[in-house]
Homo-oligomer: 345 residues x 2
DNA sequence: CTGAAAGCGCTTACAG
DNA sequence: CTGAAAGCGCTTACAG
C-alpha cells in the first residue's frame, strides 16, 4: 500500500533525497552507516520505487519488447516458441530487464502495436522475430524511429540491422550430406516458402550438398512447401510420381505430412523412402516414428538476441552485428537404421 | 528520432501544451479547427508521446503483467500455453494495454520478479496463473502490496482474490458420466496432484459421477498422478492389477502415458480398456490414437481474465469476483467407438 | 473550448 | 561522502 516517496524515506532517515536515491540504486561512495540506516528505513516502511519516475528521469525503462509477427497461428503448432520464450525470459531476468510481449495477429493489431512500441520511454529496445512471412514492415518502422532492435532470424534486407540466426544453409547441407552418405541418391526436397530466408537457405544447403557430392540435381525433385504438415503432405504426393528414395523436408511438420503421404500409398519409412526433417519438434510418444532431424539451438537463439540487444542499448549502436548459430543433426530412424558417426541424440 | 515534446508541438501549432495533450488523448470539447491543426503538426513532425511521463502524471501505466509460476518446464510440453497467451495478448491489444510477461523458473527468479512487479507505476495490475503447484506466495505478496490481481485457475485460498477458472468438477463429472453411459463400470482414475485445486476438483467430479450412477466406488481404482505422461504411465501400470475396464485421466499427457502402459502389456484401447483424457492437446497425426477428452475454453479463460482485471483496475476493487467457465467433452474413439448424443468435435 | 500552473517521483551533474 | 537544485515530459483540476 506504500505510497511513500524517496522524499519520505529521506526525511525518516535524516538524509537528503539524493542520498536515498544513491543507496536504492546501489551507487558507490556511500558511508556504511548511512547506507545501513536508509536500507533499514526502506525495509521497515516497505518503500517501493516508482518505475515511471525513474524512467522519466533516467531516460531508460529497462524494458524490452518482443514482437512475434503474424505468428499467432503457428504459435500453436510450433513447439519452437515455448523454448524460445523461455530463453528470452530467462536472459531478461538475468539482466534485470522486463519483457513486454507483442503478438501481432492482424493488420489492425500491427498498427496499434507499432504506435505503442514506438512511444518514447516505453521500451529501451525491441526484439523482432522474422516469421516465415518475413515481416519487413515492422523492422523498417523501428529503424525509422531509431529504436534499438535485434532481429531473430535473418530478414530479407539485413544490411542495416543486427540479427541472430541459425546457419540454415550449413544445417541443411549437413543433413543432406548425411542422407547421401547413407546411400540415397534420388533425394527430394520439400522447401519452406521461398520468400523467407529460412526457406531459401535450407533449399540452398540441400542443393549445395548434392552438387558437392556429384549427385545430379533434378528440379522435379524440389517442391515448395509452407512449413505446415498439410503442405508437406501435398508436396509429397506430387513428389511420389518422380520416385525419390529419400526426402529432405525443411520442417518437421512437413516431414510428418510427407511420412503420412508415403504411408498412405502403402510404402514404408525408411525402407522405401527415407525422411529427414528440420526443427526437432517433440512428436507424440504414441507415434512409432523416430524422426531424424535438425535441432536448432533455440534457447541460445533467444538469450543471444537479448544480450546483443542490451549491448546495443547500453553501448550505442555501432555498425549492425550478425550472430550465426550452429545446429545439430539428430540421427534417429527415419533415414537409415544404423546410426553412423553423426551426432546422436 | 523525434525527441519532440508536447511543448514543441504546442509551439508549432500555436496552442497551449494542455490543448495538445487533450487532442493526443482524444478528449472532447476541442474545436475541430484546433484538433485538425494539431493533428497535422503531430503527423508532420512524427511526435511520439513519452510513456513514462504520461504514466507518472496520470498514475496509470496501461500495462499489465502475466506471471507464470514455476511453469517453465511444463511450458514446453503443455500446448495449453500458446493458446492461452494468444487469448491474453489479443484481449490486451483490444483494450490498449501492454502485456509484460514473467516466467518464474527458480526461487531466485521469483524474488527478482516480485520486487520488479511491485514497483509503483510499472504495472496497473497482474494476472497470475496458478500452476499445478498452486503458488500462493506470489498471490499473497500481491495482496499485501495492494496490487490489483486476477488469478487464472482457482487458488487454494480463494476468499480474498478474484479468479477465473474452468468448472473442473463438472467437466470431470460429465466425462465420467459419459463413460458410465458407454457401459463401463470399473472405471479407474488417474488424478492430478492433490495439492492443486485442478487435481482435487477433477477427482471429485469423477467420484460424484460414480456415486450418482450408483457405481461402487473402489479406492484401489484411484491413483494420484502428476499430470505428466510418465506419471500417467506409472499410475496405469499399478492400476492394471485391479482390472479396470476404463480409466479417466486428469490430463491428456497422463492419458497418453496410460495408453502406452495398456498397449505395453498387449491390450488394446478401447477394446480392453477405454481411456478418457483432459485438455484436448493436439496429438501428432502420426498417432493412431483418437483421444476422447475434455476441451477447456482456453482462449476465453485468457480474455475473461484480462477483462476482469481491467475492470478491477478501472473501477475499483469491490469484493473479489469469481468467473467459472464450462468445458466441453470431445468424443473421439478411445472410449467406445460410436459417438452418442455427446458434444462432438 | 482553452490556458497557466502545479504536480507526478525520480536522477544526476554540480558544488562542496 | 552528501546536499540543493534543475529537469525529465506529461496530466489535470481550476479558471475563465
Amino acid at each position: 500500500m506504500s505510497n511513500l516517496t524517496l522524499e519520505d524515506i529521506a526525511k525518516k532517515s535524516g538524509v537528503s533525497r539524493s542520498t536515498v536515491s544513491r543507496v536504492v540504486n546501489d551507487h558507490q561512495n556511500i558511508s556504511d552507516a548511512v547506507r545501513t540506516r536508509v536500507l533499514q528505513v526502506i525495509k521497515e516502511t516497505g518503500y517501493r520505487p516508482n518505475a515511471a519516475a525513474r524512467t522519466l528521469a533516467s531516460q531508460r525503462s529497462h524494458m524490452i519488447g518482443l514482437v512475434l509477427p503474424q505468428t499467432v497461428s503457428s504459435l500453436f503448432t510450433d513447439p519452437f516458441y515455448p523454448q524460445f520464450l523461455k530463453g528470452i525470459s530467462l536472459a531478461c531476468n538475468q539482466h534485470d530487464y522486463t519483457l513486454a510481449l507483442f503478438l501481432v495477429s492482424s493488420e489492425e493489431d500491427e498498427h496499434k502495436i507499432l504506435t505503442r512500441i514506438t512511444n518514447t520511454s516505453l521500451l529501451d529496445g525491441v526484439l523482432v522475430q522474422v516469421g516465415h512471412q518475413g515481416d519487413q514492415r515492422i523492422i523498417g518502422h523501428l529503424i525509422d524511429v531509431g529504436m534499438p532492435q535485434v532481429v531473430i532470424g535473418r530478414p530479407v534486407q539485413s544490411d542495416n540491422v543486427s540479427f541472430v540466426d541459425i546457419d540454415n544453409i550449413t544445417a541443411a547441407y549437413n543433413a543432406v550430406t548425411y542422407m547421401v552418405r547413407m546411400g540415397y541418391n534420388r533425394i527430394a526436397a520439400i522447401t519452406g516458402p521461398l520468400k523467407s530466408t529460412a526457406g531459401i537457405d535450407r533449399r540452398d544447403g540441400y542443393i549445395k550438398a548434392l552438387v558437392e557430392r556429384g549427385i545430379k540435381f533434378d528440379p522435379k525433385l524440389i517442391v515448395e512447401g509452407d512449413f505446415t504438415e498439410q503442405g508437406g503432405n501435398l508436396a509429397m504426393q506430387s513428389l511420389l510420381n518422380h520416385r525419390p528414395d529419400a526426402v529432405f523436408a525443411a520442417s518437421d511438420a512437413m516431414a510428418v505430412g510427407a511420412i503420412r503421404a508415403i504411408q498412405g500409398i502403402g510404402l514404408n519409412v525408411p525402407e522405401d523412402i527415407a525422411v529427414v526433417g528440420f526443427d526437432d519438434i517433440p512428436i507424440s510418444t504414441l507415434s512409432d516414428v523416430q524422426l531424424t532431424t535438425v535441432r536448432q539451438p533455440v534457447n541460445r537463439l533467444g538469450s543471444n538476441a537479448v544480450e546483443l540487444l542490451i549491448d546495443l542499448i547500453e553501448h550505442g549502436t555501432q555498425p549492425p552485428r550478425h550472430i550465426i548459430l550452429n545446429s545439430q543433426l539428430v540421427v534417429r530412424s527415419t533415414c537409415g537404421l544404423q546410426s553412423t558417426g553423426s551426432v546422436g541424440h
